[in-house]
């Protein structure tokens, strides 16, 4: 068994309005960052997982996402194992 780290990015679905991103975008424009055309804000979650293989660790992370860590109505996620 080895200890793996799952890096999970949970992002709001692209077709849905992200009010937090919009507010931060407006704030950055006030600071002069006119080149920034859009911001979307999500979550980065890391899990320490004890597993026999990277594949098994990824499966644990997938199950955790589906059961609790993301909500399919509003978000999407991606997992990278290291």
């Amino acid at each position: 068994m080895s200890l793996y780290t799952a890096h999970i990015n949970v992002m709001p679905l692209t077709e849905l309005l992200d009010p937090q991103g919009k507010a931060v975008n407006d704030s950055l424009h006030k600071l002069g960052f006119q080149a920034i055309q859009g911001i979307r804000i999500g979550k980065h979650i890391t899990l320490q997982i004890e597993a026999a293989s990277a594949e098994e660790a990824k499966q644990v992370a997938e199950d955790a996402c589906k059961k609790l860590l993301y909500n399919a109505v509003m978000e999407q996620y991606e997992i990278v194992i290291s």
Binding site: L17, D18, P19, Q20, L69, V73, M74
Partner: protein, 229 residues
Amino acid sequence: MKFGVVIFPGSNCDRDMIDALRNDMQQEVVELWHKDSSLPNFSKEDCVVLPGGFSYGDYLRCGAIASQSPIMQAIKEHANNGGKVLGVCNGFQILCESGLLPGALLMNDTQKFECKNVFLKKQSSTAPITKTIKDAVLQIPIAHGEGRYQADDAIIAQLKANDQILFTYCDADGSVSNVTNPNGTIDYIAGICNAGKNVFGMMPHPERATNAILGNIDGTQIFESLILN
């Protein structure tokens, strides 16, 4: 019929709900703790209430962690047996996160916590909680940062086809316009119920409008309908 009000860590409308039901509506009320694993002598005529607040500090997503509380398994069984469940504000969010109601509540498009009186139009003529409401328009307070109801087109169509939309936001005269949408919710939806019409979720707070001393008793019509039907 009795009511059971669930208290989660971070609930802050539980006392208001208990007071409104017990003292204003003259109902038997039991207090339930989130760690309870069963509902004491609850029949399908009884109603579990999930109050507003910030359960578990709104960590991860509003209602996500509360939806995994021990008592939620007993509440799911109660609901699946036809027992009544009402979720207000954070309670509505918990019901969506638990899968007892479809969809989810997203951050308001106004980018603000909206705390004000709004007008609601009664929509469902078949749901127990709206069936016998007399007035077409009720004034009820809202207080939320995440009240933008979101569901895919198929679910919205199903809600409409089955008369599952309880309330929509409206003007004082009952007309729906862009001005009155306080949070960007789809089709001005303020509350819905499940297909079985025994699980109800709404963002506005009827328990804050049940006593003349507060200047508004429109909320009593909602509870009266729920009790009567």
